[in-house]
């Protein structure tokens, strides 16, 4: 069964959690797939089973450079990638 979702709340309803319920990140993961000039956000289960399409958006950042610079986030993740 496939279904197109348009908001994250649709996903929660589909998974039986409802809006206002606790958002369980472990239920699915969201992956961006570029398709031409668009980006399609797809929901997948942890075992990569297709759940549905959450969002389709233009693959374009409309922010000015000033807006981008004032909003850039960084994370230092190196220690999480080192060999055990």
């Amino acid at each position: 069964m496939t279904k197109t979702f348009f908001t994250i709340y649709d996903i929660q309803d589909f998974l039986g959690q409802g809006t206002g319920g606790k958002y369980e990140e472990e239920s699915y993961r969201v992956v961006d797939y570029p398709v031409g000039e668009f980006v399609v956000k797809v929901a997948l289960t942890p075992s990569n089973k297709f759940v549905g399409i959450i969002e389709v958006s233009l693959d374009k950042d409309f922010r000015t450079y000033q807006q981008k610079l004032s909003n850039i986030g960084f994370e230092d993740v190196e220690k999480y990638y080192r060999e055990d």
């Binding site: 000039e37 986030g73 994370e75 993740v77 990638y81 060999e83």
Partner: protein, 209 residues
């Protein structure tokens, strides 16, 4: 949109992969008022990326960053294993770590990271997608060894090269040009380089506020 430009322009451009230049690295223990002991490593034959904006490719000067082999540890993260060039762009904080690392994290730390919406990781690095024109090398991932043509650059390794042949982007040794980024990839490189230099130290940020 593809990573590389299918019909490259006849000019050197920001983000181009080039070859045939000579690179040097100076090593000292610490600076001093009189010349300290030093050694200089000189390397020929490395492919490199043009880091000068096009309008600054002139006067026999260009900035280049040598291509280097990809870090196999990136593939510990399935999100990067699917497409390692995702590292070039801001990403959802949940995708920045191997899943086991995210699951072990305490809730407060997760919420702190999620509050950022989207972030850059490996801020010093930019990955170049595989291409048959790039030299193959063996990449060890766990027990597997595969031949790859994936490379990356490190913004900390950008260096100036003086070359008599470089007068303008069009009047340059174009035989040295191998590959050109697509418009989108070039924008990603520009944005990540901007982000690399835009980081503000906490003490500076506090003073500015």
């Amino acid at each position: 949109m593809s990573f590389y430009e299918a019909t490259p322009s006849k000019a050197l451009r920001f983000g181009d992969i080039v070859s045939g230049f000579v690179f040097s690295t100076t090593n000292i223990d610490s600076p001093s008022e009189s010349p300290p002991p030093f050694n200089i490593e000189v390397v020929f034959g490395r492919h490199a990326v043009v880091m000068s904006p096009s309008c600054s490719i002139s006067h026999k000067t260009i900035s280049l960053a040598p291509l280097k082999k990809i870090d196999p540890n990136f593939f510990r993260n399935p999100h990067l294993e699917e497409d390692v060039t995702r590292l070039n762009r801001e990403m959802d904080p949940r995708h920045t770590l191997p899943p086991q690392a995210w699951e072990k994290m305490d809730e407060d730390e997760k919420q702190r990271r999620l509050a950022k919406k989207s972030v850059y990781i490996w801020t010093d690095l930019f990955v170049y997608q595989s291409h048959p024109q790039l030299p193959e090398y063996k990449l060890k991932r766990g027990a597997d060894v595969t031949n790859v043509t994936l490379y990356m650059i490190d913004f900390r390794e950008i260096q100036q090269i003086k070359c008599k042949g470089i007068q303008t982007p069009e009047d340059s040794p174009l035989d040295a040009k191998l590959l050109e980024l697509s418009v989108r990839s070039r924008a990603d490189l520009r944005d990540k380089l901007l982000a690399y230099y835009a980081r503000v130290a906490e003490e500076d940020a506090a003073a500015i506020m």
